[in-house]
Amino acid sequence: MSASQPASASDPAEFVLARLDALASALAPGGVHAKGLRRLTGGASLETWAFDIEGEGGSRPLILRRRGGGGEAEVFETSLPLPVEARLLRAAEEGGVPVARLVRDCAEADGLGEAYVVERVSGETLGRRIAADPAFAPARPILGRQCGEALARIHAIDPAGLPPLEVQDGRAVLDRYADIYRKSSGPRPVMEAALKWMEARLPTPVQPHLVHGDFRNGNLMVDPEDGLTAVLDWELAHLGDPAEDMGWLCVNSWRFGVTHHVVGGFADLEALLDAYRDAGGEPPSVERVRFWQAVGTFKWAVVTMMMYRTFASGASRSVERAVIGRRLSECEVDLLALMEASR
């Protein structure tokens, strides 16, 4: 959501490079030096850096995720601590989910603060390219199936083996975002009508499963030929209704203009749910997915309000933050489309 920020030579880059350099032998067999460090994402306080460890064994491409200080005002304050995310990555890999393999869950002595290192997986994450670029035409027909399989494996991970995670059912998520909406905005007719629509369709709670929480086009690493290579961004994982992940993946904002492919702009829902079933999952009803799609759309509407609030309060003076407030119109149109389809 934020543009990359070049790291100035003096500050964090030099600090991070020195620490990674000292860890070289632990990050790659025969590793000697850390090279080519560059910041990939800026914005919030969570930093992502790409770098290579060079040594006798050649060059190993890696990614550092690190909780830095300061940065722009956080939108979500619910992000998991990085050590918890690291344990989820390990569990996901053991469960057969394509993820960037965990290389190091950083200890305090590493001097990087809250951080972990994973392998750098090649591919594309830009949703627009994945949904529409001709280069990704070979990937698109297989991507819906791969997402269904990945979701079935995520939801099959036994929560008993995981660090404690928050349980959020439909009621809890709805109440949370309704509350943020009322605190962030004046009363809005479409948001009120959408709340009534969702309340009338609250699904019966299910046994809580591990839910990724941000499984969408944009957080998937995709190879033009091989399709899904890694599921990224686990920081919003929690326990809840598996259909939440399917609904969020179907939110129109993540279809990048390819609206007729409801799943991320690259597949239809049937393909996703069929693959989910074939991989051992118990597919939710289409109505349950639609409910969560509406919740996801409402949630994204609330995020646009919160982003605008960070501008309005003076915490950020970025034009981008201001303009994102006008994307609320997209969410309201999408909410009405869901209501219209059920009339």
Binding site: G186, P187, V190, W197, E330
Partner: protein, 122 residues
Amino acid sequence: MIEGPRKDELLEATLAWLEGAQTSADGFHRKVAANALGIVSRELAQWPDAEAAAVARMQAILGRDGDYAMLNTALAEGLRDGSVNGDEPAVFDHLRRTALDALAIDQPRYRHELTSAKDIQS
């Protein structure tokens, strides 16, 4: 009395410059800025009519007078407390038209699945 340039002329000229600027430096932020001015320019041109139509629709739904802000708040509160039903054709039609008018200003190229108001009429 201001003879010119009018505010729409100033916006249009600035917008055209931002969009056509050849500099690659800060290209992303330049596009964001052009987008922001595009919103302002469409709002100036389109919102007065859209607002007047919305006020007329809300007066009919709520059976009372008032300006846009008052009526919009009353409608939202009515939907919340259940005294107004969002499923009623006149209410849903109003929500649809207002949302599409706002989208035409904010993100006119956004692709979506909501039936447009003119397709409903025909």
